[in-house]
């Protein structure tokens, strides 16, 4: 069974648009950044990695599991952090939201223990019983991340997780993501954040136009944008 994330001649057509065209990739690095203009296909590429979007042609696999055939297994392996934490915090209170990620088959006490542990790690323990809407933007994104990490995924995919935050919160969330032991795929418009990854993909109009170390890849992107 091949490990890592493999995209094999992937095309995605949504409505009447070719959103991704002929993407071939093998992602094995620890931290991978993705940049590109609005509408270039970054989110679609990120969503392919956990089967939220399926290829119209070609194949995406994670550790040998085809996202089209083994959706649930892939999603247990790949955690996803969205841009808007409000959209992914689904339960009324902080602790409930983290607990919701855990399988119902775990004993109740074990679930409570893991929730408490996860909240302590990110410094949200004192907010456990608070309604999620009372958290600040940065705390909400931290909660969203916690609800992903509590399931111990092998890969974390984050689609512009700092876009809605200010400088201080951006730095905190970015630092946490980049320090994760897990493999990380990070879509971001914030070039300072992406500079901390090991490999950067530049997407433009549905195609991969650069794939390099952060330095040269981001130079390419800057030229593209000007």
């Amino acid at each position: 069974m091949s490990s890592g994330i493999v995209l094999d001649d992937v095309h995605v057509r949504l409505g009447d648009r070719d959103v991704l065209r002929g993407v071939d990739l093998r992602l094995t690095e620890h931290r991978i950044g993705i940049v590109g203009a609005n509408g270039s296909g970054k989110s679609t590429l990120a969503r392919l990695l956990n089967g939220l979007v399926l290829p119209t042609r070609g194949r995406v696999s994670v550790d040998g599991l085809d996202t089209a055939r083994s959706g649930p297994a892939v999603r247990r392996r790949v955690g996803f952090v969205f841009t808007d934490p409000d959209a992914q915090i689904l339960m009324p209170t902080v602790a409930e939201d983290v607990e919701y990620s855990l399988p119902r088959t775990l004993p109740r006490a074990e679930r409570a223990r893991r929730v408490a542990e996860a909240l302590t790690t990110v410094g949200l323990a004192e907010h456990a019983e608070h309604p999620a809407h009372l958290l600040s933007g940065g705390q909400k994104q931290l909660l969203a991340l916690t609800s992903v990490l509590v399931t111990e995924p092998r890969v974390v995919v984050a689609d512009e997780p700092t876009t809605l935050l200010d400088l201080r919160n951006t730095r905190e969330i970015a630092a946490r993501l980049l320090a994760l032991p897990q493999q990380l795929v990070l879509v971001s418009h914030d070039l300072d954040v992406v500079a901390g990854t090991d490999r950067v993909l530049v997407v433009d109009e549905g195609r991969l136009v650069a794939d390099d170390e952060p330095g040269p890849a981001l130079d390419h992107y800057r030229r593209l944008m000007s």
Partner: protein, 193 residues
């Protein structure tokens, strides 16, 4: 809020709901003034036992105070003083009893009871786990949509216009978009079934 622990607070939510249902039905059978007064006394004793302040107790019946006054006034002419008092007091007792259950029971416990009560309905296609999910999503959705609503109202004010259609269309679109986002987030958490 007075949610301090008392014997009433600690009673299982299901028992209190059942008592409320039985009490509401039983009250219909009571049609003498001493009867309803006794019921009222019983409920008042309940408030005292739960250590609920008179102010909070009054808050429970205040919404129907006007109704009771009108009802009482109108019924005096039609059925006489004493029967009118019985009809009016019955409403007070009912509302006060319901309020007592609400005040002494945590929303979460009541929700859990509703879910448990739904278990026997599995045969007719009710899925208690899904019901619990829908209730949670609704609670979580309220502050999010309230935020959307506030933003839309701000945008209307900034443009110097206020009308219901230009409020409702963007807020409803916001709700539909949220439903999509939630559905996707559920899928991402492995709950797409």
């Amino acid at each position: 809020m007075t949610r301090g622990p008392s014997a009433l607070h600690r009673l299982p939510a299901g028992a209190k709901l059942a008592a409320l249902a039985a009490g509401s039905l039983g009250l219909i059978l009571v049609d003498s003034l001493p009867g309803v007064l006794a019921a009222l006394g019983l409920v008042a004793a309940g408030y005292a036992a739960a250590r609920i302040s008179p102010r909070l107790a009054w808050e429970q019946v205040r919404p129907v105070a006007l109704l009771v006054a009108i009802l009482f006034g109108a019924q005096i002419w039609m059925i006489g003083l004493e029967p009118a008092a019985v009809v009016a007091l019955r409403v007070v007792v009912l509302v006060a009893l319901a309020g007592l259950v609400t005040l002494t029971t945590r929303a979460g416990d009541l929700l859990a009871t509703i879910e448990r009560a739904a278990h026997p309905l599995r045969g007719v296609g009710v899925d208690p786990a899904r019901m619990a999910l829908v209730l949670s999503l609704a609670i979580r959705g309220i502050p999010v949509l309230a935020d959307v609503s506030r933003r839309v109202q701000d945008a209307q004010r900034a443009r110097g216009r206020r009308d219901v259609r230009a409020y409702a269309v963007p807020v409803v679109v916001g709700a539909l978009r949220r439903a999509d986002a939630v559905s996707e987030a559920l899928a991402a958490r492995g709950r797409a079934d």
